[in-house]
């Protein structure tokens, strides 16, 4: 067979492998990006201290818990809020939850700069923004209105919320409170381990808590990702087998076609190992050229697919060095296997081949 067929064969096999592996990887990356955009790595823990202790003691214990939890997950963003047992009322008689903040929330700095104290902040949408003062207990406040933050909207179940700094809100907490902790994790592993610690602590302290998290779903996705890894490994093995079989068969055909020429060269005194080595080098070089062509063709192919329309806009076929090594290993293993076969059959005595 012509050398071109070897190049084309390796090119097509490698291209197919690169596409499959690249698309799997692409799908995984897209999912990961979407997860990160939708803050699925965020957990919300609500704790209710149902013990019959004095509220001041409960607050001290709550402050201790906050410090403890920040130690438990030092690498993650952790916002600790306390929701007062009483609510704020606007001029129309609507009630809004009050969140007392002991420290500056992590979202504050990037949104509004310094956390001003003492000030009452009212987070609401422009459309339902009530006019006038807010009444908290026996006091009236002129709050600073700010647009609703998604995080607070989650905590306040979609309604507006009032944030009060600790210096103003401590007294409000003496009427009872619940604690809310929002943790944004960097990865699933940290999320999992922190959850385990939190749950162990809350169970040990006999706290009434609820945990809102996408971890079970993420664990399933992680399982899916692991399965994907297995599929990629299996695919690589499959490629090795296909390459070995196809190139082996090609070698057999080639040998049948060329055995007379090999024998003729041997009849001149050319050593068989040298002839076989030259054959191996030719196969390796042509195969590597085919793989290289496939690798270089990936980006133009992806661009071509993206040009088909918006549905394909996310298509990106990028393969990492590890995947390239895997394919190279597959192709070279196939080449070597086919060459070994050739070495075995080429040992036939020259005198039995030449006539």
């Amino acid at each position: 067979m012509a050398p071109l067929s070897k190049v084309v064969l390796c090119f097509l096999l490698s291209l197919l492998s690169f596409i499959v592996i690249g698309l799997l990887k692409n799908a995984e990356e897209v999912l990961e990006t979407q997860f990160n955009q939708r803050e699925v790595l965020t957990s919300i823990v609500t704790i209710h201290d149902t013990s019959r202790q004095d509220e001041v003691i409960k607050l001290d214990q709550s402050l201790y818990r906050e410090a403890l939890f920040k130690k438990i997950s030092p690498d993650n963003d952790l916002d600790y809020f306390r929701r007062a047992g009483i609510a704020a009322k606007d001029a129309q008689g609507k009630y809004y939850p009050i969140v007392v903040c002991f420290s500056e929330p992590t979202f504050w700095q990037e949104e509004w700069g310094e956390f001003e104290r003492p000030e009452v902040y009212f987070f609401c949408d422009d459309t339902d923004a009530p006019e006038g003062d807010l009444v908290i207990g026996d006091f009236k406040f002129q709050p600073k209105r700010l647009p609703k933050v998604p995080l607070l909207a989650t905590l306040a179940k979609g309604k507006g919320a009032v944030i009060v700094p600790y210096s103003l809100g401590r007294m409000l907490l003496t009427n009872g409170f619940s604690e809310m902790m929002v943790i944004r994790f960097n990865n699933i592993e940290t999320m999992k381990s922190t959850h385990e610690k939190l749950e162990a602590y809350c169970a040990a302290e006999n706290l009434n808590y609820s945990l809102f998290s996408a971890l079970p779903l993420l664990m399933q996705l992680e399982l899916f990702s692991k399965m994907q890894t297995y599929v990629r490994g299996g695919l690589a093995i499959l490629i090795i087998i296909i390459t070995a079989i196809v190139l082996g068969n090609q070698s057999l055909l080639e040998f049948r076609e060329q055995q007379y020429q090999f024998a003729l060269l041997r009849s001149f005194g050319s050593p068989l190992p040298l002839i076989m080595l030259a054959e191996l080098m030719e196969k390796v070089l042509l195969s590597l050229f085919g793989v290289w062509l496939a690798y270089m063709g990936l980006e133009p192919l992806a661009t071509m697919v993206r040009n088909f329309g918006a549905d394909f806009a996310m298509v990106d076929i990028k393969v990492g060095a590890e995947d390239v090594r895997l394919i190279l290993l597959g192709v070279l293993s196939g080449v070597f296997a086919s060459w070994c076969f050739l070495v075995i059959v080429a040992r036939k005595p020259v005198g039995l081949i030449l006539s």
Binding site: L264, L265, G269, G351, L352, S355
Partner: protein, 215 residues
């Protein structure tokens, strides 16, 4: 002076039950020896045994070469072999074919051979562009290019016209060194003129026995 001696050599092809040669003795001396006999009587096999392409089952094959029979150096330096057909590498030109086999041949020697065999105008042609006679002349030129001491030709003029046969006969008598041993397996009566010795294989294997072995 090249001398080839077979002492009690036995040989049989794989899968065969009987020996083609059984305790066969043979001596070849410098000069041209013609091997004649029925088809399948073992003329070509004898040439292959002497070249080292086949190994005898028993017995000794001795030559005056310092290299072991069948070794790469022996084939490279001592042996020039011309097969009955498909002698040239199909993808290489005639010139390249001669260059490939002749380790000792230089450009001048190649040019001389090509001229003597009437091939100088087609030196850069591939075998598929040559006639049967040209291919066979090219093959003999290739065998002689390195100046071998053992030249083995298997039916070199089979199917060739008188002109081609004459060119080959002349070239062999002109180019063959006096110290070389040349063995030609042939049925061709036209080569009798150049032979120093004619060995009739039929005397080793009578016709009746030969027909029985073929059956």
């Amino acid at each position: 002076m090249m001398k080839i001696e077979l002492k009690k050599v036995s040989f049989r092809y794989p899968g065969k039950r009987e020996d083609l040669f059984h305790e066969f003795d043979f001596v070849a001396t410098p000069g041209i020896t013609l091997l004649k006999g029925y088809s399948g009587c073992g003329k070509s096999t004898l040439l292959r045994l002497i070249a080292g392409y086949l190994k005898p089952r028993e017995g000794d094959l001795l030559t005056s070469s310092p290299h072991r029979v069948g070794s790469n150096r022996y084939l490279m330096k001592e042996v020039g072999f011309v097969f009955q057909q498909m002698n040239l590498l199909p993808l290489a030109t005639l010139n390249r074919n001669i260059k490939l086999s002749g380790v000792n041949s230089d450009t001048g020697r190649r040019a001389e051979l090509l001229k003597l065999f009437g091939l100088e105008g087609i030196a850069n042609h591939r075998p598929c562009e040559l006639s049967g006679g040209q291919i066979q002349r090219g093959a003999i030129a290739r065998a002689l290019a390195k100046g071998p001491s053992i030249i083995l030709l298997d039916e070199p003029t089979s199917g060739l016209d008188d002109l081609n046969t004459k060119i080959i006969s002349n070239a062999l008598t002109d180019l063959l060194p006096k110290s070389s041993a040349c063995l030609i397996a042939t049925h061709d009566q036209r080569l009798h003129d150049i032979a120093d010795e004619i060995l009739d294989f039929n005397k080793y294997l009578p016709l009746e026995e030969h027909l029985q072995s073929l059956a």
